[in-house]
Amino acid sequence: MRGQITRRLRGSRSRARLSVVALVVGLLGPSGPIGPYDIPLYGTPKAPAANGHGRLVYADSPFGVALTKDGHTVYDIQITAAALPAPSSLGAYSTYVAWAATSDLTQWTRLGSVVNGNSIVGPVDLNKFLLVVTAESDSTSATHAGPTVLHGISPSALLQKFLTKPAFHGIAD
């Protein structure tokens, strides 16, 4: 079901929309304070200086809040990246690609190309996910093969488990 929606959103209309969004973001930039739905992106030993962040915005929807039929929120990600080295400096690579991966790393979805500066990728409809940017030889490849240069986790992955904590008894120290 979610796959269907992802495919639908990836249609030509979706690309047209992303280019409009890209234009606007290109003009304004995803600036402003880092909000709760931003994803700090960290470099790796392959690209230690690389940095950036992703900002979750709702994918286009007539309802404003984009959901799949089973209730997963559907986001586009506005990525701002800096200090990405030339992909060719890491090997036989020509481009950077963003991926969303489930936290067990079993499911990877290609989100789109990433450059230094601003990029819009998506959509992603996972409750919790890792955002990973890799160097690739082909921006359309369906599987990730190259080295990772940036990574981060979705804000929802910060949800804490309180079940086992003996707190909240209402007694002040």
Binding site: M1, Q4, I5, R8, R17, V20, V21, V24, V25, L28, P30, G35, P36, Y37, R55, V57, Y58, D60, S61, P62, F63, G64, V65, A66, L67, T68, K69, D70, G71, H72, T73, D76, N127, K128, P155, S156, A157, L158, L159, Q160, K161, F162, L163, A167, F168, H169, G170, I171, A172
Partner: protein, 598 residues
């Protein structure tokens, strides 16, 4: 299913409540209920913070027994109650409709009837006590003209009707005509446009319908009680253009709601002000047209046009009809510029959507609300699917076959042309910046302890009540929701907001994620229409005129208001308990000739 309603909408005979005599005398208003709205604090009886539970059952809580009162809130499966909250009750006196009234003397709720009215017609609309059975349990609730939902008012566009409202319930009330751009004095907002209608009193409304679409009426007094107990109804306004919407074999209004019950009891309301003030009251039973499992029949290939309304106090729905294809045609105050294929409908409180669904194959289609809830204790998402109706599709083919019309997605050039004159203003600087936030005081310590550490991630939208114990124990005495004017720091009714009639007002509203308990807010503006031109800086590419817009936590929306209708108009959150905790302000649209002389 409301077969009567279906038949009526299809054009078969229907009953009109014209000239209906209201019941003779209202039930007595309980003590402490005077001075609405807000129902004058009865502080002599209520401590300032959550109080230890009494050793006897709470009034209205038949079925609760034992020593210390058990938690009357059904907790989600596998969710422990926070230990520090056990035994507490909210610091308000409890209220349920019909105290002291013999339920067996009340009428049983009737199915919705269609009141098909023409220009100049009069309707008597009586808010009254009635008996309703939900999932085998009978409750004393409210309804209009003995019905829940109330009469479906169907009128031609540009008609003006007279509605004689009679209040025969045990609370003051009024009728607000949600989304209708009518004369300000008939807007039904006590304290702003009229005095509340006391029990036993009446008020005459003249309701003018300038826009085609689906609307709803409800009280604008203690919505957390009156609306939740059954006071709501639809209005469908028909365009003179027979080809206004893509053709359908049939029309059906579906009103989505929920009700909070525990075993055989309703959960009492706060008498002096709302309980469940943090998240709003989220029901444990989801309802469609007042029923917990609505059923509908269709023919193979039938295209059904659904008029969807969310009248719940707090719940946002995500509705789908099995795997039946669906397209969305219209929302609050207009059609979309372009129809879109959708897999589900996301609908916040008070929003409406008009969709068409084609039932292509014989069989059963489940009408479901499907969301990804959050279990805050496990730190995990928790899928929830609630089946609120079943559509049984017979093998007989629908005639005529509208399959090809359904497959096409229309562009509504008239809508785009109407919006064209507003487009130059889409990117102008905002005239007003608001921040949505909350202040709390005197909440139970365990609630504060939990909330303070559960701050790593806020759901942009709370789809369920994941913390019903903390929520129940929060009341409008402790929780103060605010619409804050960024320029002045003033909040809610202290904000000074004027616009000249005919001006185009851009408002930017930011839902602050850093407050004590951030939550989505469905913001409603009375009496005008508005466009959501951008969300989080991303332009909206398929516009529709709205009166209610959901603003998730952390989001910023840019609204363009067509300030064409003079008067004092409320803008407020449509989560009834947020409204009841202060979250409202007023847009004064000053008549074109200038403000009236003092």
């Amino acid at each position: 299913m409301r077969l009567a309603l279906v038949a009526a909408v299809l054009g078969t005979p229907f009953q009109i409540a014209l000239g209906q005599q209201p019941p003779s005398a209202p039930p007595a208003m309980p003590p402490g209920m005077s001075g609405m709205p807000g129902m004058g604090p009865d502080s002599s009886k209520t401590p300032p913070a959550a109080s230890p539970a009494p050793t006897t059952a709470m009034p209205g809580m038949a079925g609760m027994s034992g020593g210390a009162m058990a938690m009357p809130i059904p907790m989600p499966k596998g969710m422990p109650m926070v230990p520090g909250l056990i035994g507490l009750t909210p610091p308000v006196a409890s209220f349920l409709p019909g105290a002291g009234v013999d339920p067996m003397k009340l009428p049983v709720v009737k199915p919705t009837e269609v009141a098909r009215l023409k220009n100049g017609d009069t309707l008597d609309l009586t808010a009254m006590l009635l008996r309703r059975t939900i999932k085998g349990r009978t409750f004393v609730m409210y309804g209009y003209n003995g019905q829940t939902p109330g009469p479906l008012i169907r009128v031609p566009q540009n008609a003006t009707i007279i509605v004689r409202f009679h209040n025969r319930i045990d609370l003051p009330s009024s009728v607000h005509w949600h989304g209708v751009r009518l004369d300000n004095r008939y807007d039904g907002a006590p304290g702003v446009t009229q005095a509340e209608v006391r029990p036993g009193d009446s008020f005459e409304y003249r309701v003018h319908f300038p826009d085609a679409g689906v609307y709803w009426y409800h009280p604008h007094v203690r919505e957390d009680i009156e609306q939740a107990m059954g006071l709501f109804g639809n209005m469908i306004v028909d365009s003179p253009d027979p080809d206004y919407y893509s053709p359908a074999n049939r029309e059906q209004a579906l009103v989505f709601d929920d009700l909070l019950v525990n075993a055989d009891t309703l959960i009492p309301f706060g008498k002096e002000g709302p309980d469940f003030a943090l998240m709003g009251r989220v029901g444990s039973v989801e309802l469609v047209n007042g029923e917990s499992r609505d059923t509908l029949r269709a023919k193979t290939g039938e295209v059904v046009r659904f008029y969807l309304t969310n009248v719940a106090s707090s719940r946002t729905f995500n509705i789908s009809f099995g795997d039946a294809p669906m397209k969305v045609l219209a929302s609050d105050v207009s059609r979309f510029e372009r129809e879109q294929r959708v897999s589900s409908v996301v609908m916040a409180p008070a929003e409406r959507y008009i969709v068409e669904v084609r039932f292509e194959h014989p069989g059963r289609y489940a009408l479901v609300n499907a969301v990804q809830a959050i279990n805050h204790f496990a730190g995990e998402f928790d899928p929830e699917v609630d089946t609120v109706g079943i559509v049984t599709v017979d093998s007989a083919p629908a005639t005529p076959d509208f399959g090809s019309d359904f497959a096409a997605l229309r562009a509504n050039a008239a809508v785009s042309r109407d919006i064209d004159r507003y487009r130059p203003y889409f990117t102008k600087p905002a005239d007003k910046h608001f921040t949505l936030t909350v202040d709390v005081s005197a909440l139970p310590l365990a609630t504060v302890q939990f909330m303070d550490v559960d701050t790593a991630y806020y759901a942009p939208v709370e789809w369920v009540d994941a913390m019903p114990d903390m929520n129940w124990l929060s009341t409008s005495k402790q929780v103060h929701w605010a619409i804050r004017d960024d320029a002045t720091g003033k909040e809610n009714m202290d904000v000074d907001w004027h616009a000249a009639q005919g001006s185009i007002v851009k408002v930017q509203i930011f839902n602050d994620p850093k407050s004590f308990h951030p939550m989505q807010h469905p913001m409603h503006l009375h009496g005008q229409r508005m466009l959501v031109v951008a969300r989080d800086g991303v332009p909206n590419r398929d516009l529709v005129w709205k009166d209610t817009v959901i603003i998730p936590v952390g989001s910023t929306v840019d609204l363009l208001i067509d300030a064409s209708n003079p008067g004092a108009w409320m803008m407020h959150c449509h989560i009834a308990e947020h409204l009841g905790s202060g979250m409202m302000t007023i847009l004064h649209v000053d008549p074109a000739a200038g403000p009236p002389a003092k």
